[in-house]
């Protein structure tokens, strides 16, 4: 036995070594491209053209970021993206919540049909609804407004929110609502005062997810909000590319700025998702 233990430990060390040998290339390929973008954003424009390529920057500067915000109206685009993403999140949650409650707490004729409907809707090609939505916005004079994007985004945020929140609501035990109703609470009262507070982790996870998807959206934004006043970040980035020149330093800085909030949110979302899942099991 005394000799077996060190042998087992050695075997374990060896297997950890093998795993890391495989993990390192995976990690490099996953984060390498983004690190290269980060590096490009942090070096002066002149150093980008240096040959041979510098893998580690010899000088680091924030001039690209300063330029973006001082001269390229990046604050404006940032605000536009933020308003559209918040608007989509609020609208998506409010519109979807009662449906999730219905799916989670009622059995009714057509329940399965409606659930399948919400599942299938996001699978229709975006281009199939893009043109009519463009036309609707054009006719109603909503083209180039925040509202046009918020309404268009509800085509994919609502089905998603309905499904996600139905899952969270159904995982919460019904007994507490029943107790509240026995105590004289109305159905609405039980929903607002009992179910909603316990479902907060799940609802916030849904909210964050809608926010991220809306923040990242490009196709609708490129079609419905071309005007500079309402242009969102993913669309604004394309304007650094012209027919003949690309300002890679600015573009890289822009890409980093657009990605950072989402990366940070995802760290939060991971925790929220786990919290939302365990909330149903623990209580």
């Amino acid at each position: 036995m005394a000799t077996a233990l060190p042998a087992a430990a050695a075997r374990r060390r060896r297997s950890v070594f093998v795993i890391w040998l495989l993990a390192v290339p995976v990690i490099l390929l996953s984060i390498g491209p983004f690190l290269w973008l980060l590096k490009t954003s942090l070096v002066p424009e002149s150093r980008i053209f240096v040959r041979p390529l510098e893998y580690l920057p010899s000088t680091v500067t924030l001039e690209n970021f300063v330029m973006l915000f001082e001269r390229m109206n990046f604050f404006g685009y940032f605000a536009n993206s933020f308003i559209v993403a918040i608007g989509s999140t609020v609208l998506g949650l409010i519109i979807s919540m009662s449906s999730s409650y219905a799916f989670a707490r009622f059995r009714f004729r057509g329940r399965r049909f409606f659930m399948t409907l919400f599942l299938v809707i996001p699978m229709f090609p975006t281009v199939l609804i893009l043109i009519p939505i463009y036309d609707i916005m054009r006719v109603t004079g909503l083209l180039n407004t925040y509202a046009s994007l918020i309404v268009a985004y509800s085509s994919f945020t609502i089905p998603f929110a309905v499904w996600m929140m139905t899952g969270y609501f159904a995982a919460l035990p019904v007994e507490m609502e029943e107790a509240a109703r026995v105590d004289g609470c109305s159905r609405l009262g039980a929903f607002v005062r009992v179910l909603l507070p316990t479902a907060v982790p799940g609802i916030s996870a849904t909210a964050l997810y809608i926010f991220i998807v809306s923040w990242n959206e490009y196709t609708f934004a490129a079609m419905l909000a071309q005007d500079e006043a309402v242009r969102t970040l993913p669309v604004a980035l394309q304007f650094f590319i012209t027919e003949f020149t690309v300002n890679w330093g600015l573009l890289a800085a822009g890409g980093v700025i657009v990605s950072l909030p989402v990366i940070l949110l995802f760290v939060v979302l991971q925790r929220q998702l786990i919290a939302g899942l365990t909330a149903g099991a623990v209580k």
Binding site: P33, S98, P125
Partner: protein, 308 residues
């Protein structure tokens, strides 16, 4: 009553005893807001699209709109461009999907092992998925740049090529590199879905098989594979639909070029709508795309029902 979480979550009725008419109606009233908005932003536009596809409708000549029957469809189906785009769509889906699956599977198996530092691996693997598609497309344009791109630089250093290759400007390499970018972007989704499936396999089953003397290959064949096959089917169908619909990566990297080498069906419609303003023809192509995808969606629903 046996309840399982897969598929539509089961309802837990608040009270089933006394059913007043108002209570029977209530769930439908609750569905109204979401269904109303969805009718407005999805159902109505789809009907519109079908209507447009039967009209001559070009925004350049807004006064010259008329019913043209199946003209747009005939134009599409007799246009060589349509068939090339269909082929490009098939290549696009057919290339990205298997690569994402195989590599995603390998990463999932790796992430399923308990080892020090696995959180670093998981966080890194997630990153490509989190970055917005528009940034992913620009990022890969930059990596693949013919003159300044780091991909060329690395390949030259290793000695695989002598001079920089203009990957995105060459019709013979453009598709391969947009596939590369999309694979990078979508892989984490596959890896995470498969990882979740792997973690749901009870460890005791492996232990029992191990005691019975099953080889690693047998354990995979008889325990792992049957446990995850449904997840694989669901994820694959979902990815086919998403890939066949996706525009951003291709549009931003190549706009369908060079020489239409990367023009898939959604790119055709986007191009016709945005550049050509030919809403009638663009609608017809998107309806055709939707019809093709309907087959996959049908399979997906069947699979979901089976999981349920």
């Amino acid at each position: 009553m046996a309840r399982r979480q897969a598929g539509p979550p089961p309802a837990t009725p608040v009270r089933r005893a006394r059913r007043r008419p108002r209570d029977l109606l209530l769930p439908y009233l609750l569905l109204l807001p979401a269904c109303g908005v969805v009718a407005l932003v999805v159902a109505f536009p789809i009907a519109q699209s079908i209507g447009y596809s039967l009209h001559h409708y070009n925004l350049r000549e807004p006064d010259n709109v008329y019913f043209s029957g199946l003209d747009n469809y005939v134009r599409a189906l007799t246009d060589e461009m349509f068939w090339r785009a269909l082929r490009a769509t098939a290549i696009w889906v057919g290339a990205v999907l298997p690569i994402q699956f195989v590599v995603g599977m390998a990463i999932a198996v790796l992430m399923n092992r308990a080892f020090p530092g696995r959180l670093v691996l998981r966080a890194s693997v997630l990153l490509p998925w989190v970055i917005p598609s528009a940034v992913v497309a620009l990022l890969w344009r930059w990596l693949l740049d013919g003159n300044l791109g780091v991909v060329n630089d690395l390949l030259i250093r290793v000695g695989l090529i002598d001079t920089g290759v203009p990957w995105l400007n060459d019709p013979s390499t453009a598709m391969a590199v947009v596939v590369l970018a999309m694979t990078w972007h979508g892989m984490p989704f596959f890896a995470l879905m498969l990882l979740a499936a792997l973690q749901a396999v009870p460890a005791e089953m492996y232990e029992a098989a191990h005691l019975d003397g099953a080889s690693a290959l047998q354990r995979f064949r008889y325990i792992t594979w049957p446990s995850i096959i449904d997840t694989i089917r669901t994820t694959t169908l979902l990815r086919i639909i998403w890939l066949a619909n996706s525009i951003e990566i291709i549009w931003i990297m190549t706009a369908g070029g060079p020489n239409f080498a990367t023009t898939t069906l959604p790119v055709v419609t986007f191009f016709e709508a945005v550049r050509g303003l030919d809403f009638g023809y663009a609608s017809a192509v998107s309806v055709l795309l939707a019809l093709i995808l309907l087959v996959v969606v049908h399979l997906y629903i069947r699979q979901m029902r089976k999981d349920d």
